[in-house]
Symmetry: C2
Subunit: 349 residues, 2 copies
């Protein structure tokens, strides 16, 4: 869509590197009290006072992590920020700042970069994080986005992956699998479009799934919920690679086992319908599909009352002794070893 | 050189994404007291107590910022770290942590990535910074490195670009222009090699220049020097794009003018010899050549005694009122307006 000949195209070289950075970063506002100096010097300057600082980073590559054929640039900018903020949320910290580096080949006009930065700005504004630095340069091929997210938390708030006890309950926020099926729907529409470029996709039936893929949200609200419930998870991770993969990470870090119950998995009704249409097992999608950016955490059994009947949380299993292994308990009550089959970025080209 | 058929080649897909990250990050040690948790969770956790935090980020792209034909991977890893630490030094802060993200196409075997990480580890160890996070993924083309550097400083130590007064002295560390001529020498050798692959380059005459290009150092020592001299610059920037470009940045941020004196430029004798051989004006190289990673700063005139005769520092000019403009005063005592002609990353492909 960025090849549309009717739209305005301004060559990036017309602006030059510094002109481009000035142009793209002019809309960023500083709202966090911890940001003393944002963009405009050799480095940003931050002041966290007595808070601990949490840092995470991600690299997104066109053709590997996203396909511009069905990912509009504005959504991509938004999602790139969300993916990183989600890691900060997974530490039970509050995201406060990000740096954004972008490399593009010259097939991208200025207007395309503006769309990307519109999405970045929307996410930064929405989640109240300051864009405090970055780098804009040319690439040999495609679009590359690198984001580092910074957050703050009190020392006793921070939740690691390795604190799960062997009798803890396993809990997930929101629902799982929808983002993956959203991608499958978009991939199918791309195939249809390649055969018949005049076809107009009707995505109404898939609206929720597509939105989960194109516009995921970082669960910055969960930290606030925990505060209100006076609840601190014993371990936590975000779901980027898929539920099974993340459960295995938690178990290995915490040296515990786990029983995950198929009948407890929070699956959206739309996902069930579309899985039938695609003839795919919805449990497989819920367990292995990634990019949900929900939070997976464990709590002490004694905290059960704090979360029961809370619509944000679903108890999907419980931890066990390490020697018992990591299993899915099916609806038919059979026990299957859980394996990570999530997305792996380093398959042979 | 990474295409040498005799060496061991392990395909990246044999390890998988998590195996690769574990393998590459196993040598990183934590030495900074501010690092509470490094690699291994959703995010790193840092504690800067009452210090301010300084953050900078850079993206390096093969074919744009480096050429693997003459940049060995180990040197590239080292330089990628140095480039980022230099930005922290330019704030008069102490570098403490970095995150390192790398994307590679599958033409790179594991051994190539190991070489790259050897250079990264060497720099991290040498400059005592902790590698606290990162991302390793595949690229569609070439090698991409994204580094975020973090540093700490007391509030009253931090030096910005905008503090230069109109009677301040302009000072530079080390010498300028050598890294650029080192690149020219390497580019010439690449041409020779392409014509005759059996030719062996004799780089003895160019050793210093080539080292400045392939193994620049971050001036982490300058902060210590300032402490010992009880000196605080009024403004500071590091020289990545070229002296003229950085002087203009300082002047514009500080709203002052500048007179730069040609006869004061610190130029290494080897640079002068090689400029004659290449028939290039050494002043042009000293002013416009980038990648020196030296520090450019201004001090109050009253601090002159603190730095005079110090071999680390050269006074190369003085600031003026903004209305007087930014000029080079030549040996012949003519006044030429200084323009930024440094490297620009966004030229038309």
């Amino acid at each position: 869509m960025i090849e549309d000949k009717n739209q305005q195209r301004t060559s990036l070289s017309q602006l030059g590197e510094f002109g481009l950075i000035d142009h793209l970063t002019q809309n960023f506002k500083i709202v966090q009290p911890s940001t003393l100096k944002g963009i405009g010097d050799d480095a940003a300057v931050l002041d966290f006072k007595d808070k601990k600082v949490v840092v995470s980073t991600d690299l997104l590559i066109e053709g590997v992590h996203f396909d511009l054929a069905y990912m509009p640039l504005k959504h991509l900018g938004y999602k790139a920020v969300v993916v990183n903020l989600s890691d900060i949320c997974a530490m039970n910290a509050k995201p406060t700042q990000i740096t954004v580096s972008v490399a593009v080949s010259n097939r991208f006009p200025l207007e395309a970069l503006e769309e990307l930065f519109e999405g970045i700005t929307l996410a930064a504004d929405g989640f109240k994080v300051d864009v405090i630095g970055g780098d804009t340069t040319s690439s040999q091929k495609g679009l590359i986005i690198s984001i580092t997210a910074i957050g703050e938390a009190d020392a006793d708030e921070i939740v690691y992956r390795d604190g799960a006890g062997d009798t803890d309950l396993l809990v997930v926020t929101g629902d799982v699998g929808s983002a993956y099926m959203g991608l499958k729907v978009l991939e199918r529409e791309k195939q249809v479009f390649m055969v018949n470029p005049n076809s107009q996709p009707d995505l109404d039936l898939y609206a929720y799934l597509v939105e989960r893929q194109l516009k995921p949200e970082a669960r910055t609200d969960v930290r606030t919920l925990f505060h209100a419930l006076e609840l601190k998870p014993t371990s936590m991770i975000d779901i980027s690679d898929g539920l099974s993969s993340e459960i295995i990470h938690l178990c290995k870090s915490s040296k515990v086992g786990c029983n995950l119950y198929e009948d407890k998995l929070p699956i959206d009704p739309q996902l069930i319908n579309v899985c039938e249409e695609f003839n795919i097992d919805s449990t497989t999608v819920a367990i292995n599909g990634g990019e949900d950016y929900e939070l997976l955490f464990t709590i002490k059994m004694t905290d059960f009352d704090k979360i029961k009947a809370n619509p944000h949380f679903t108890i999907i299993g419980h931890m066990t002794q390490e020697s018992e292994g990591i299993h899915l308990i099916t609806r038919a009550n059979t026990k299957i070893e859980l394996r990570a089959r999530g997305w792996d970025a380093l398959q042979e080209e």
